[in-house]
Each structure stands twice: as structure tokens, then as C-alpha cells.
Symmetry: C2
Subunit: 272 residues, 2 copies
């Protein structure tokens, strides 16, 4: 058991966005080791089909197994919504996505039972957030809005920009018009727009960040299974792998992680 | 020779953008058959590395050869800039990209020898447009500007939108401030923004559309090699292949082609 406890957690995303989830795991579960994989050669997933996302996710799980991880976090809303159900049945490793933890906290948060959901086209279209929420409380209304420009705006670095604000207004006005009191940031890039979005929706609307909720849910899952790592923190117990070149990934990682990522390894994910 | 003349032209792109090139080939070389491949499972290429784009392009060339094409058009600026030189040496099929035809017309167009270039990060960073242009005339100055938001704006359908105009101003103002008189639309999506861009840059700046120039250059190349197809037009001599699901591709194709695309076939490009 000691050996399993000591094993790293596998965390994967279509690219850099899942680093916001890794960051929350680092903050909230500081003893855990992490192997992160970002599928930068095939990013983004949000505009692709379910079948393709399942195929890609399967390859990533096979890769993470070669790293002897003890659990897997699907740190990508699109893959959580479209692939998690299928791939979790195919492996005996404990697996958690970002949708369920985010959805459950949204249910606890809403008072008027009107929840807004923003994400990629694929995530919103999948209806998974809706299903999880309405299983908890069928009276809650979930109003989804795909925001395909948010990821490129974040990657352009326009986080507090007039143009980003205009785009956000365009996307969010229909949700605000329907009087939502809770808004799920249903894509791992969106927490980086948090302060801009908060300024736009005002104090009446609570933002739910599934990245944070997922880190807490992961901690509970590891504890339940008796495989939470104990003992002292290690120097830098994190390894990063990508499918395209390391440079851009490392820049982005260093801009959002509280550590300096000095090495990233490139692998050929399609061979797994 | 008759048999080779009758063979289709292979046209490929990272996704749907190359359809603007296919459209120009259909218009300008109406007797030619086309096999189009859009790499929709791995789109976009513009933010990925040279090594990855070469690997993807190699697989596509292998696929197009199974379709017995007589020539290949790399209808993607990023792949033309980063992969064409390598992959054209590896095959005996005549091959043409979009960069050279566009660059040469820009050289003929400019009067003040200041050319603006807009494209993806990878295309601009590659410096290929600059090299081709300065080989023709070393005195010409090429001012490059990556416009990573244009593709998602086009795919959002915001072609004549206030927000798109603001983004375009942000990107183009530095080029206009440097007094360019010619602007290369260095990404196959950008011709769809043509009227918005034209309104912004005014009559002083001539827009160069490499898609159109490529179709003309392809015609000359086929004629030189004696493999231009002759005879009567066929009903619908075009076949479309993609690496992700057909639906979104077909919608986009039908919105920009002068024909109705009724069938698209999905293949697993990583197996080639």
C-alpha cells in the first residue's frame, strides 16, 4: 500500500488549460506527485467529435499507465464530458473528471435554481453538466452557452482586455437575461478570465470553478481508497509531458504555476 | 498520358480553410477533378511545431497517393511554410503550396516596397514569405503580424461583426502605421474576412489572396508538365475526406463552395 500511496497522480488535458487543475491539486494536496500530459499536438478538443476524443483519451490513459500512476484526473471539460464514462470502464485505476465536482457545487450554490454553464461547443452540446445537475435536483434549469473565442483570447494573453470584455458580454448577456445566480466556468482556460467575468456578472452571480472542486474531490477519493500520500513535501514532484514541442507549453506553465517548470518531455502520443 | 491527365488533384489543409483554395481551383480549372483532405481531427496547425506539421503532412501525402492523384496542392499556409520543402523532396509528384504564388504576386503589386503579411503564428514566424519575396527583390520590406483570433472569429461566423472589426484594427494598425501598400492574406480562412479587411485598410492597400494565385499557378504547372485535364466538365468530380466527423465540415463546405457537398468520408489519418 505504501508503494501505491507513493505513486503519482496522472493529470491530462488537451493542452495547457488543465494546468489550472494541476495548480489546484498542488495547492490543496501538497504531498501528491503529479505526471501531467498536455496533448498539444492535437489541441483543441472542444470542436472535435466524441469518437475522436475517446480515441485520443484512450491513448493518453495508456501512456499514463506506463508512468505507473495511482489515479487519473481528466483535467479537461470536453474529455470529461465525452470520454470519461467510456474510458473509466476500461481501466481499474480510480478516475475523476472535472464535470461532476463542478456540477455538484453548482447545485449547492444556486438559490433560484438557474445555473449558467459556459464551455466549449462539445462540452455544452454533450449535456453532461445538465444531466449531473438534474439528477441531484430535477427542478434546476441549466442554461448553456458555448464560448469558442475564450480559449484563443486567453492564449493571446488578452485577459483584461476591452475586446475580451465585449466578447464576454455577447456570450453572457443571454444568460444574465435569464436571471442565473450561478455560473459554471466549464472549461479549464476560463479561470484565467475570472476577474473579468466577475466584473461583468456582478455580485449577484457566484462563479463556480470546477478546477478547485476537482482537487478537493480528488483528495476525498484518494482518502476513501486509502491511497492519499502522506509525509513530507518533495522538492518538485511534478513531471510534464506534451505531444508537441515543449517551448510554448513551458512558457504558459511558468505563467500560471507557482513553480518554475524547467523540463518538459515530448512524446508521440499516437503510438500509445 | 491520357490516364495521368484524368487523375485528380490532391488538395489538403489542416481543416476547412483550404476549401477557399479548392473553390478557386474549381472556378479557374473547371475540368480538373479534386480529392480534398481536411485534417479536422488535428486542426489547427498554426500554433504547432514544424516537426509535428511535417509528420502530419507526410501522412496526408501517403493518403493522397492511395487516391492516385497526379499533383498535390498544399492548401494551408502553415503547412506550405513549414512542411512543403521537406515533403516535396520525398515524393515524385508535382507539388505546389500557397506561399510562393501569393508572395510573387505581392512583389508585382507593391509600389512602395512595403508589404504586410498576416497569418498564423507559425506561418509568420517561419519567415518563408519574407525569403521568397526578398529573393525576388531584396529591397522589399515585409512586415508580419500573426492574427491568431481570425480563424476562431471566422469559425464563429462573425464575418462582418463589430468585434471582429475591433480585433482587425488591433492587428492591422501597426502595419498601416508602417505605410504598407500591399497586404497578403496569409491564411486560407482570411479571404472570408476580405470585405471587412478591405473596409479597414482602404483603397491605398491592395489585398493579395494566395488562394486565387495558387489556382492560376497550378494551371500553369499542369500545362507545363502536359497533364492539364481537357474535355468536358463532369457532374461533380470532387471527393472530400476528413479525419474527424463529417457534419461540421460539410456545413462549412456548403456555405463556401458553389456546389452542394453531399458526402464526405472520414478516415484515420494517423494510420497512413
Amino acid at each position: 500500500m505504501k508503494q501505491i500511496k507513493d505513486a503519482p497522480i496522472g493529470v491530462f488535458d488537451s493542452g495547457v488549460g488543465g494546468l489550472t487543475v494541476a495548480r489546484e491539486i498542488m495547492r490543496n494536496l501538497p504531498y501528491e506527485k503529479i505526471v501531467y500530459f498536455g496533448d498539444t499536438a492535437r489541441v483543441p478538443y472542444g470542436s472535435k467529435s466524441k469518437e475522436t476524443i475517446i480515441r485520443y483519451s484512450r491513448q493518453i490513459v495508456r501512456f499514463l499507465k506506463t508512468q505507473e500512476v495511482k489515479a487519473i484526473v481528466v483535467a479537461c471539460n470536453t474529455a470529461s464530458a465525452l470520454a470519461l464514462e467510456t474510458i473509466s470502464k476500461e481501466t481499474d485505476l480510480p478516475m475523476i473528471g472535472v464535470v461532476e465536482p463542478g456540477a455538484k457545487v453548482a447545485v449547492e450554490t444556486t438559490r433560484n435554481k438557474k445555473i449558467g454553464l459556459i464551455g466549449t461547443r462539445a462540452t455544452v452540446k454533450s449535456g453532461l453538466y445538465q444531466r449531473v445537475i438534474q439528477k441531484e435536483d430535477p427542478q434546476i434549469q441549466v442554461i448553456g452557452q458555448p464560448c469558442p473565442l475564450f480559449v484563443p483570447l486567453v492564449e493571446e494573453g488578452w485577459l483584461k482586455d476591452e475586446i475580451t470584455l465585449e466578447v464576454a458580454k455577447r456570450y453572457l448577456d443571454p444568460l444574465l437575461a435569464q436571471d442565473i445566480d450561478t455560473l459554471i466556468l466549464g472549461c479549464t482556460h476560463y479561470p484565467l478570465l475570472r476577474s473579468l467575468l466577475k466584473g461583468l456578472v456582478g455580485d449577484q452571480v457566484t462563479l463556480v470553478n470546477p478546477a478547485y472542486e476537482t482537487a478537493l474531490a480528488l483528495g476525498r477519493m484518494l482518502e476513501d481508497k486509502g491511497i492519499l500520500r502522506e509525509g513530507k513535501e518533495e522538492e518538485f514532484p511534478y513531471r510534464f509531458f506534451v505531444s508537441d514541442e515543449e517551448e510554448h507549453f513551458q512558457q504558459f506553465a511558468n505563467s500560471i504555476l507557482p513553480y518554475d517548470v524547467k523540463t518538459t518531455e515530448q512524446i508521440r502520443i499516437e503510438e500509445y
